[in-house]
C-alpha cells in the first residue's frame, strides 16, 4: 500500500491510500466543519446541510443524485459530527470516474427552497426519533454541562426549534463559509486511478470558494455538575458521565485508549467482570472522544432502576482502585492484543481504511500506517496509562441521569 497526496494551488487536497490488489474503491469528501462551527441561532445547520447536499445541483436534480448513486451500486452515506462532515461512497473500481464526479458535484448543492422545506420535515422526524431513543438526550445534556459556553456544547442535530426557524439563506451563508477548497479533502482508498482523480477534482472544483471562515478556537473550560432528565416511558436506568480527556493529536492518546479498554471494554474489562458478567448492568462503558483542541471521556451505564445507586458506587470504587493501584502488565497485554487485532481486521477493507486516512488527515494532515499505529500501542507502559488516568478520571465528572416520572 502506498500513500499518495496531491495539492495544487487552485484545488482541494487529494489523499489516496493506494492498494492495487483491492476489489473496490472507496472515496469520500471530508469537510472540516461541524456543529462547533455554528452560530447559536443556527444550531444543526451542518447536519441539515448534510441532508441538503443530496438535493441537487446545477447539473443534477435530487432524484438524479439518488438514482446515480444507486446506479453505481454504491455503498454511500454521510455523517456530521461536532467537528467534521463526511460524504462517502464505496464502488467497484470501474465506477471511480462517475463516483468522483457525482460526489464532487454535490458538494455545491443548489439548496432550493422547496427541497429545504421538505427536508426540514425529515430532519425534524430524525430529531423526534433520537429524542425517543434511550438514553433520551443524556449525552447531549452532558456535553452542554461539560463544555458550558464552548462551541463543542452545540447539539449536532440542533433542536426542533432551531431547525424549524432556520432559513435557506442562513444555510447558504454557512455553506459559502465552510465548504471551501482549503477546508475540504478528497480521500480515497483501495484500487484508485490517481491521475484520473486529480483531473476530475481539479476540473469540477475550479470555481469553489477558496478560503474558509476560520474556526473559533476557544480554550475548553471543563465543568462538573449533574442533571436529571425525567421520562414517562422508561424501563431501564440510564446514566451518562463525562470527564476531561485528551485532544486527538495528543501523543498520549494511545495510552488513553488502553486505559478505557482495560477499564470498560464490553468484554474482559474491569467493569465487565464487576457489572456485566454478574448481570448487574446491561452496559457499562467508558470511551474517549477526541477533538482537535481538547477531548473528553464519556461513560455510560444502563441497568435496572433499583440497581442504579449500587452500580454507580461500584463504578466509583473500580475507578478509585485503578487510580490508587494502577493497572497490571497482564491487563495491558490483553488490551493491546484486543486493540491490535481489531485494527488489523478493520484494516482489511478499503472502506474502513478510508475513515482512518480521512480522520487522520483532518486532524493532523498526516497518516500513520497500521504498523506504526500498532507500534505506538506496543510502546504504552502501565505508567503511561496511570498518568492519563490521573489527568482524566481523577477529576470530577459531569453526571446526567434519566429517571422515571414516578421515581
Amino acid at each position: 500500500m502506498e500513500l499518495l497526496t496531491h495539492k495544487s494551488e487552485s484545488g482541494p487536497e487529494i489523499v489516496v491510500l493506494q492498494d492495487p490488489t483491492a476489489f473496490t474503491t472507496s472515496l469520500g469528501w471530508f469537510v472540516d466543519t461541524g456543529a462547533r462551527d455554528e452560530q447559536p441561532g443556527v444550531a444543526g445547520v451542518s447536519h441539515f446541510l448534510e441532508h441538503m447536499v443530496f438535493k441537487g445541483t446545477e447539473r443534477r436534480t435530487a432524484a438524479e443524485v439518488n438514482r446515480e448513486l444507486d446506479h453505481l451500486g454504491a455503498h454511500s452515506n454521510a455523517y456530521t459530527s461536532e467537528d467534521s462532515t463526511v460524504f462517502y461512497a464505496s464502488v467497484l473500481p470501474e465506477c471511480q470516474a462517475h463516483a468522483v464526479d457525482l460526489l464532487t458535484d454535490i458538494m455545491q448543492p443548489l439548496l432550493r427552497e422547496e427541497d429545504f422545506e421538505t427536508e426540514r420535515q425529515v430532519v425534524l422526524e430524525e430529531i423526534a426519533m433520537y429524542d425517543d431513543q434511550p438514553p433520551y438526550g443524556a449525552f447531549e445534556k452532558a456535553s452542554e454541562l461539560f463544555f458550558g459556553e464552548h462551541p463543542l456544547a452545540t447539539r449536532v442535530l440542533g433542536s426542533s426549534e432551531t431547525v424549524a426557524d432556520m432559513t435557506v439563506s442562513q444555510m447558504h451563508e454557512y455553506h459559502r463559509g465552510r465548504y471551501t477548497k482549503d477546508n475540504m479533502f478528497l480521500i480515497a482508498s483501495g484500487k484508485v486511478d490517481m491521475s484520473q482523480l486529480i483531473e476530475h477534482v481539479s476540473k469540477v472544483s475550479e470555481n469553489w470558494p477558496a478560503e474558509s471562515q476560520p474556526r473559533v478556537n476557544l480554550p475548553a473550560n471543563y465543568h462538573s455538575g449533574s442533571a436529571v432528565i425525567e421520562r414517562e416511558s422508561r424501563h431501564q436506568h440510564y446514566e451518562v458521565q463525562m470527564w476531561p480527556g485528551l485532544s486527538r493529536n495528543d501523543p498520549r492518546r494511545y495510552a488513553l485508549r488502553m486505559l478505557c479498554t482495560i477499564l470498560a471494554d464490553d468484554t474482559g474489562s474491569r467493569l465487565f467482570w464487576e457489572l456485566i458478567d454478574t448481570g448487574r448492568a446491561e452496559t457499562a462503558a467508558i470511551w474517549p472522544q477526541f477533538f482537535g483542541d481538547c477531548g473528553c471521556l464519556a461513560g455510560y451505564l444502563c441497568c435496572a432502576p433499583e440497581d442504579a445507586t449500587e452500580n454507580s458506587k461500584i463504578i466509583q470504587r473500580v475507578l478509585a482502585e485503578t487510580l490508587r493501584n494502577g493497572v497490571t502488565e497482564k491487563e495491558l497485554g490483553l488490551a493491546r492484543n484486543k486493540v491490535s487485532s481489531s485494527l488489523i481486521l478493520s484494516d482489511e477493507k478499503p472502506s474502513n481504511r478510508l475513515f482512518a486516512v480521512g480522520q487522520a488527515w483532518l486532524n493532523r494532515r498526516s497518516y500513520e500506517p497500521l504498523d506504526v499505529v500498532l507500534a505506538r500501542y506496543a510502546a504504552v507502559t502501565p505508567e503511561d496509562v496511570m498518568q492519563v488516568a490521573a489527568e482524566t478520571l481523577g477529576r470530577e465528572p459531569v453526571v446526567v441521569q434519566v429517571v422515571g416520572t414516578q421515581d
Binding site: F23, P134, G279
Partner: protein
C-alpha cells in the same frame, strides 16, 4: 476469481463448509446450533438465550475468565446470537489463530461448565435485554410483530419473557443444552485464509465423536393476520407491516427479493422516494425479505410523528401496490448492479462470507456461487417482475404500531387474506 465450496459432512450429522479467500489476512467462522427459540419448551421463553450465555462461562480446562482472556490474547473478535432456529457463535481473527479458536469453541459446545452459581447472573443479563427492548420503541415493534404474526413456537423473541426467564432453573437449562447442542442439524462455516485439510482434521479430532439426535420436528407454521397496537409514550409512532412473499428456498425467491429491492434498495427506491424524499414523512423507512419455517414475508418499517402516521401508512401501502403498474428498466438495472456489486464487497470480509454460506446451507442445503446468483439476477425482467407481483398480490397483512395512537389496516387490505 475461482470460487469453490468446500464441504464435508461428518457421520454425526455435523456439516462443515469452507470457502477460501486467500487474499485476506483473516479467517472467520459461523457456528449454528439447532438451539433457537422455536425449540424452547412452552413457558420457558428466553431459555435459548440463557443457555447461550451459560455455555460461554467456562469450558474444558478453562474457567469463565480464563476462556475470555484466552480469546483476547488470540485477538478473536466474537459474537453470539439467537434466532428462531439457531443459537450461533461467530468469530473473526488473524488467520494464524483459527485452529486454536476452533478448538476453544469445540470445548464450548461439548464441555461447558454451566456453573450453577452463575445462572442468576445470566438471568439478570437476559432481563436487562428485555427491559432495554421495552424502552426501544422502534425495535419493540418488530418483536411485537413477530409475536403477533407467528404463533408458537415460531413467534418467540430471543429476549424471552419475564415469566419464562423466572421459570428457568439449572436443571431445565442443562436439559435444553443436552437436547439442542448437538452435531446433527449444526452447521460450521469457515471463510477466509485457512488450510482446509487442517480444519477438517481438527474438526474431526475435536467434534468427530460428538453424538446426538437431530432437532425435533416442528409444527406447521400458520400465521396470524390483522392489527395490533402497543401503547408507548413517544414522539413518533413506529409502524411494522408484514405481508406474504416467496421464502428464501422458493425458486421464485429472486422475484420477491427484486420487488422488495425496487421498493427499498437504495436512495432512489420507491419507499425512500415517496415516503421520505417527496413528502418528508419519515427519517427511516424500509422493507426487507424474511423467511421462517417455509414462509416468506416482506417486513416494512416506518417511524413518523403521530399526526402524520395515517398518511404514512397510506403512502406506504400505495407505494407497495404501485408495483402492479410496472417496473422501469432503469429501476431494474440499478437493482441488478447493486446486488452484483454487493457480491464483490462480500469478498472483502471473511466474517460476512462465513455467515452467508452458513445461512445459505440452512435454507437451501447448498451454497450458490456468485456466478449462479449473478445469472439469476441477470435473468430478471421488468415484465416478469410485474407479472410475478400481479400473480402474487400482497396478502395476509399484519400491522403492529407502537406509540400513542393505534392505526388500523384499511378495509380492503385487512380483508386481503387467504
Amino acid at each position: 476469481m475461482n470460487q469453490e465450496l468446500l464441504y464435508r459432512k461428518f457421520d454425526n450429522g455435523l456439516v462443515l463448509l469452507g470457502e477460501h479467500m486467500p487474499w485476506l489476512r483473516s479467517a472467520a467462522f459461523s457456528l449454528h446450533l439447532p438451539a433457537g427459540t422455536c425449540y424452547e419448551p412452552n413457558g420457558l421463553d428466553g431459555l435459548s438465550g440463557m443457555t447461550n450465555e451459560m455455555v460461554q462461562r467456562g469450558c474444558g480446562e478453562l474457567d469463565s475468565r480464563q476462556f475470555l482472556e484466552r480469546l483476547d490474547e488470540l485477538g478473536v473478535e466474537r459474537g453470539s446470537s439467537i434466532t428462531t432456529n439457531h443459537s450461533s457463535f461467530s468469530c473473526a481473527m488473524p488467520r494464524e489463530v483459527l485452529p486454536e479458536t476452533l478448538g476453544l469453541y469445540s470445548d464450548l459446545v461439548r464441555t461447558p461448565h454451566l456453573p450453577a452459581d452463575q445462572l442468576d447472573d445470566a438471568r439478570q443479563l437476559s432481563l436487562q435485554d428485555l427491559r432495554a427492548l421495552d424502552d426501544e420503541a422502534s425495535h419493540r415493534c418488530f418483536s411485537e410483530l413477530k409475536r403477533f404474526r407467528y404463533p408458537l413456537p415460531f413467534g418467540r423473541i430471543s429476549q424471552g419473557t419475564r415469566e419464562g426467564l423466572a421459570a428457568i432453573d439449572h436443571q431445565k437449562m442443562h436439559h435444553f443444552f443436552q437436547d439442542t447442542y448437538k452435531p446433527a442439524g449444526s452447521i460450521l462455516a469457515v471463510a477466509g485464509n485457512f488450510d482446509w485439510t487442517q480444519v477438517c482434521d481438527l474438526v474431526e479430532a475435536r467434534l468427530g465423536d460428538w453424538t446426538g439426535a437431530p432437532p425435533r420436528e416442528l409444527p406447521e407454521l400458520k400465521p396470524n393476520y390483522g392489527s395490533r397496537h402497543v401503547d408507548h409514550s413517544t414522539n413518533q409512532i413506529h409502524l411494522a407491516l408484514a405481508y406474504e412473499c416467496e421464502p428464501y428456498e422458493s425458486p421464485e425467491y429472486y422475484e420477491s427479493r427484486a420487488l422488495v429491492g425496487v421498493l427499498s434498495d437504495g436512495m432512489s427506491s420507491r419507499l425512500f422516494t415517496e415516503v421520505r424524499e417527496k413528502r418528508g414523512l419519515v427519517y427511516s423507512v424500509f422493507a426487507t425479505c424474511f423467511s421462517l419455517a417455509g414462509l416468506g414475508s416482506v417486513l416494512c418499517y416506518a417511524g413518523t410523528t403521530t399526526n402524520r402516521a395515517e398518511e404514512t401508512l397510506q403512502v406506504l401501502l400505495e407505494t407497495i401496490f404501485s408495483l402492479r403498474d410496472g417496473i422501469t428498466v432503469d429501476e431494474l438495472e440499478r437493482l441488478k448492479y447493486r446486488i452484483k456489486s454487493s457480491l464483490v464487497f462480500e469478498q472483502e470480509s471473511s466474517a460476512a462470507r462465513s455467515s452467508q454460506i452458513a445461512s445459505d446451507w440452512f435454507y437451501l442445503g447448498r451454497v450458490p456461487t456468485r456466478e449462479e446468483v449473478c445469472a439469476r439476477v441477470d435473468a430478471l425482467t421488468c415484465e416478469g417482475l410485474q407479472q410475478h407481483f400481479c400473480e402474487h398480490l400482497p396478502k395476509n397483512f399484519s400491522l403492529v404500531t407502537v406509540g400513542s395512537q393505534a392505526l388500523e389496516l384499511p378495509d380492503g387490505i385487512a380483508n386481503a387474506q387467504v
